[in-house]
């Protein structure tokens, strides 16, 4: 088990070594980079906004319903909604969701390219296939991730306002007061820094699983599943360390 983990980690490092090299043709790299940013990032904005809106709304309702007490200030629901969205949801939980969407996409795309010999065709042409295929994915997701984090936080807060204005759960003024109370700008940066680590995991780990597929379509499916499970576990582990480190 330990031997297998170390072997996999070693192979992953070797692949990353090949990936982080100077692209053969910058023009082709930029083309791929923009394409991957759109495919992995821009195409995920919809799902991120949708989930963030509802989670923001639900957190606000839960806080209002369960913490309400004469001893608690009226702004506490807004305050906790903001802190949860900013500190955990918009970085960690959103990245867990993206690990499923983006991770399986990357692993199955590269896996299919491997089994249909498209990666071999690149190698025969003298192209560094790892650099050409994986580097734009990693850099593309790293670039777009802060945008997703900010959008997610903002949409969560809009969701909370939705409960106040539409659901009349609490007066909007109380919510605004809570959202503005004791705001620490560092928390936003912390969220973005954490998301950068997670973006690297989400793009590089599935790339490894997809790129190293052997066999046929069944193995592509297995690689896709392994990629999602491994990147999710790694996100959870690194979340613990990063939170400790950055808090």
């Amino acid at each position: 088990m330990i031997y297998r983990c170390l072997t996999t980690f070693g192979r992953y490092l070797l692949l990353m070594g090949r990936t982080f090299s100077v692209p053969e043709r910058m023009r082709m790299f930029w083309k791929q980079y923009v394409k991957e940013m759109a495919q992995l990032g821009i195409n995920s904005i919809g799902i991120v906004l949708l989930i963030s809106f509802f989670i923001g709304a639900v957190i606000c309702i839960q806080m209002k319903m369960n913490i309400e007490s004469p001893w608690m200030p009226r702004w506490v629901a807004g305050y906790t909604t903001r802190e949860i969205m900013l500190l955990e949801f918009s970085s960690s939980i959103m990245c867990l969701i993206l690990a499923g969407k983006v991770g399986s996409n990357i692993a199955s795309e590269l896996g299919t390219m491997r089994v249909t010999q498209q990666i071999d065709a690149l190698e025969i042409m003298g192209v560094n296939s790892a650099c050409y295929l994986i580097l734009p994915k990693i850099l593309g997701l790293l670039t777009i991730m802060p945008v997703l984090v900010v959008f997610s936080s903002a949409m969560g807060i809009i969701g909370a306002y939705g409960t106040a204005y539409i659901g009349h759960i609490m007066p909007p003024d109380d919510l605004t007061l809570g959202l503005q109370h004791d705001f620490v700008p560092w928390f936003l940066w912390m969220s973005i820094i954490k998301s950068q680590f997670f973006a690297f995991i989400i793009s590089s780990v599935p790339s490894y699983y997809g790129y190293t597929v052997e066999g046929g379509s069944v193995n592509v499916g297995k690689a896709s599943t392994n990629a999602v499970v491994s990147s999710s576990v790694l996100i959870l582990f690194s979340d613990v360390f990063l939170t400790q480190l950055l808090s």
């Binding site: 053969e24 249909t116 498209q118 065709a121 042409m125 003298g126």
Partner: protein
């Protein structure tokens, strides 16, 4: 597993590697193009040892190679024209118009009409995909062309078209072409130098004209597997 294979593939002609499924043809080809590293021995290209080359030298060397895979291996996300332009985009200093013109020339050479240029690989037939793969392989005018079972999955008529195309392009571009096949039409039709592999070892080498007269039992068992071919051979031997 390959053992004791020592052979020369001649310049400017169509060389064939034949053998049963699992005999080691694809492994041999992967060793030739560097997708696999032999545990011992040498692969020499005009005297240059490919196995002993540095990574950078191998990359340079690979630009002199073109390859057509069994599955065509076209890039799904690119159109036919973009697939053929890809090697030019990567390695040439031509302008966009020049690259486009060169890719169109190659597509015309393999008889693909302009309607197909904007289509994606998934939208064209297997035979057309193979022709696109040929166009992509020759776009940089390689010195060496490798084809791994180019007729696999094609009907007999389309197979003949592909064979004829490979043969004529080999002579036109003065390339050294090496084809892995177990298609008997290819063997008899375009094989100018034939290497027969049996269980990972070189069993026989010669030209197609020699096959009819060959006394090598394994070769004749492989080539004349069907009753019809056996009868044909007997007729040739009698005359």
């Amino acid at each position: 597993m390959l053992k004791n294979i020592s052979t020369v593939f001649e310049d400017g002609i169509t060389n064939l590697i034949i053998g049963q499924s699992g005999s080691g043809k694809t492994v041999l080809m992967k060793n030739l193009v560097g997708l696999l590293e032999p545990t011992s021995g040498q692969v020499l290209y005009d005297g240059r040892d490919f196995v002993g080359m540095s990574k950078q030298e191998k990359v340079q060397m690979r630009r002199e190679m073109g390859m057509i895979f069994q599955s065509a291996a076209l890039f799904d996300s690119l159109t036919v024209l973009e697939n053929v332009m890809f090697p030019l985009d990567m390695f040439s200093s031509m302008t966009f118009r020049e690259r486009q013109r060169r890719a169109q020339e190659c597509l015309e050479r393999v008889n693909l009409t302009e309607d197909a240029h904007r289509k994606y690989p998934g939208e064209i037939s297997g035979g057309m995909q193979k022709r696109v793969a040929i166009a992509r392989a020759i776009v940089l005018q390689p010195k060496y062309l490798f084809c791994d079972e180019p007729n696999s999955g094609l009907d007999p008529k389309t197979s003949l078209v592909i064979d004829e195309l490979l043969h004529s392009i080999t002579h036109e571009y003065k390339m050294t072409t090496i084809i892995n096949t177990h298609d008997m039409n290819s063997v008899m039709g375009i094989g100018e130098n034939i290497l027969f592999i049996f269980e990972g070892q070189k069993e026989w080498q010669g030209v197609s004209a020699d096959i009819m007269q060959s006394t090598n039992q394994r070769l004749t068992d492989f080539i004349f597997a069907s009753d019809l071919l056996k009868e044909m051979r007997q007729a040739v031997v009698k005359t």
